[in-house]
């Protein structure tokens, strides 16, 4: 593959990861106390968990199954979606049966998907609790985009001629750097695509463009430019 395609592909992968992270319902510390909507952990942890599972499934397809590239990307997406779906499902089981709260969003009055009323179920003084349907669906979409982004990074680095292990290592680093940029843009908690914070997305895309572009440029320079010093 020629260098320009790889640089562009890596930038697209970075942007996909950043967009994906914005879809994932992240609750942070407040959600761990059932005082905000989303899974009770940080953005980076949640996105990385999903992204790395996607990386494993994509890596398996890339090396051991003789299939076109789109299948590899899709299997990465499915791995991520499974991981995040299970995380959100188990989180919801704990919120509903363990903590004893009904999943409800404080950001919208009616759930955009089920049209159920939300505000009367939100405990006073909290930002909602649990993972309502709209957040769950949003999270699955986010995991799909993040999984495709992570798998694309891994495949492109392999095409660049780096060894599979080093490709996986850089893909993890690349994923983390982009997830952190998205986390800073979200600043704490986000519910999904219906959250007002979602409108900040363009800023994260621009910053991802810069950072991913730089990382892609030095990698392509190193792997294709050969030994300089």
């Amino acid at each position: 593959m020629d260098p320009i395609t790889i640089i562009l592909g890596l930038i697209i992968a970075g942007i996909l990861i950043v967009i994906g992270v914005h879809f994932i319902p992240v609750g942070g510390a407040p959600a761990a106390m059932a005082m905000a909507t989303g899974v009770g952990t940080g953005t980076v942890q949640l996105a990385t968990g999903a992204g790395l599972t996607g990386l494993v499934s994509a890596g398996y397809m890339y090396h051991f199954a003789n299939v076109p590239m789109s299948y590899v990307l899709l299997s990465g997406a499915v791995g991520s979606m499974l991981m995040l779906g299970i995380t959100m499902l188990i989180g919801n089981v704990i919120y509903i049966f363990g903590v004893g709260v009904p999943p409800a969003s404080a950001k919208v009055k009616f759930d955009p998907i089920t049209k159920y009323r939300q505000d009367i179920y939100v405990s006073p003084g909290t930002e909602g609790q649990g993972i309502p349907t709209v957040c769950f669906v949003s999270g699955i979409i986010g995991a799909f985009l993040g999984g495709v982004g992570g798998a694309l990074t891994y495949v492109l680095l392999n095409e660049l001629g780096l060894s599979p292990a080093i490709s996986a290592l850089i893909a993890i680093g690349f994923f983390l750097a982009n997830a952190v940029l998205a986390a800073y843009n979200i600043a704490g908690t986000i519910e999904g695509f219906h959250d007002p914070k979602f409108k900040r997305l363009p800023r994260a895309i621009v910053s991802s463009l810069i950072v991913s572009g730089f990382i892609a440029a030095i990698l392509v320079l190193a792997a294709m430019g050969g030994v300089v010093l």
Binding site: G42, A165, G173, G225
Partner: protein, 269 residues
């Protein structure tokens, strides 16, 4: 009386602050020398352990400085970027300078500082986080991450060139470097944060997390360099014991029991 003496003590300990520039200088110079020394002879691999400790110290100080502002995303996200932003720089440097091996750490450091600078600038001006130290700290944290990865590679395999990097990644040890390195950098502030957080205490804990990494790196190095890895393990264990007991002693000294009068004295007997 107890209260006033406590306040006086708290002020006295708050005054001693090590400048960030000094820590940055130590965090660059010591790891570079340690990495070179570790690759010189496998008997000196434990010198890489000193490099690990000081790179962790530098990174933890950067995390501490920026996380004090309360970013709202959690301390781990700041620490993880240290290795996330620098791993590409390390691999690129190992490729670029594979003829002049001694230049690898320097180029890796420069590339990592640049990518940290870009992350910092993006966070400060594009994502509009109003944190003045953001750019400096992101740069420092990424630089520390790059040196930390190379220190680990040098300690474990006794070399820091491309084959060394390939060795640790093909065996999967690099994943453990990634996680313990990030944890070593992010844990000190994550554990000590709070209203009475003090630089000295946090940095003592970072020395301890650095030393704990040396023990693990020493165990991993038994596979590559054999018996000299025992020196690394012993050095790490000694350093961990000294630094961690320093940290615990400081915590006991600074953890003040205030008698508020809410609990009746009978319960203490």
């Amino acid at each position: 009386m107890t209260g006033s003496s406590c306040n006086a003590k708290a002020e006295a300990v708050a005054e001693k602050k090590i400048s960030n520039n000094l820590i940055a200088a130590l965090g660059i110079a010591v790891p570079l020398l340690g990495i070179f020394a570790a690759s010189f002879n496998s008997l000196f691999a434990f010198m890489g352990g000193i490099a690990i400790i000081f790179a962790t110290l530098w990174g933890a100080n950067g995390v501490r400085t920026v996380a004090k502002y309360g970013i709202g995303t959690g301390v781990p996200s700041i620490g993880m970027v240290a290795l996330g932003g620098s791993v590409a720089a390390v691999v690129a440097a190992a490729h670029l300078a594979s003829k002049t091996v001694l230049l690898i750490p320097v180029i890796a450091l420069i590339l990592a500082l640049l990518s940290g600078l870009l992350i910092g600038i993006s966070a400060r001006y594009i994502l509009k986080m109003n944190i003045p130290v953001m750019i400096r700290c992101k740069t420092e944290i990424c630089g520390a991450g790059a040196l930390l990865i190379l220190s680990h590679v040098a300690t474990i395999t006794g070399s820091f060139d491309l084959p060394g990097l390939k060795n640790v990644s093909d065996t999967g040890i690099v994943l453990f470097i990634f996680i313990i390195g990030a944890l070593g950098i992010l844990h000190p502030y994550n554990a000590c944060l709070g209203a009475d957080e003090r630089q000295g205490r946090t940095l003592k804990l970072s020395l301890a997390t650095g030393s704990a990494q040396v023990i693990l790196a020493g165990i991993a190095s038994l596979y590559f360099i054999g018996l000299p890895g025992m020196i690394t393990i012993l050095f790490g264990a000694l350093a961990w014991f000294v630094t961690y007991s320093m940290f615990v002693r400081t915590s006991f000294e600074e953890g003040i029991v205030m008698n508020t009068g809410l609990i009746p004295e009978v319960e203490h007997k």
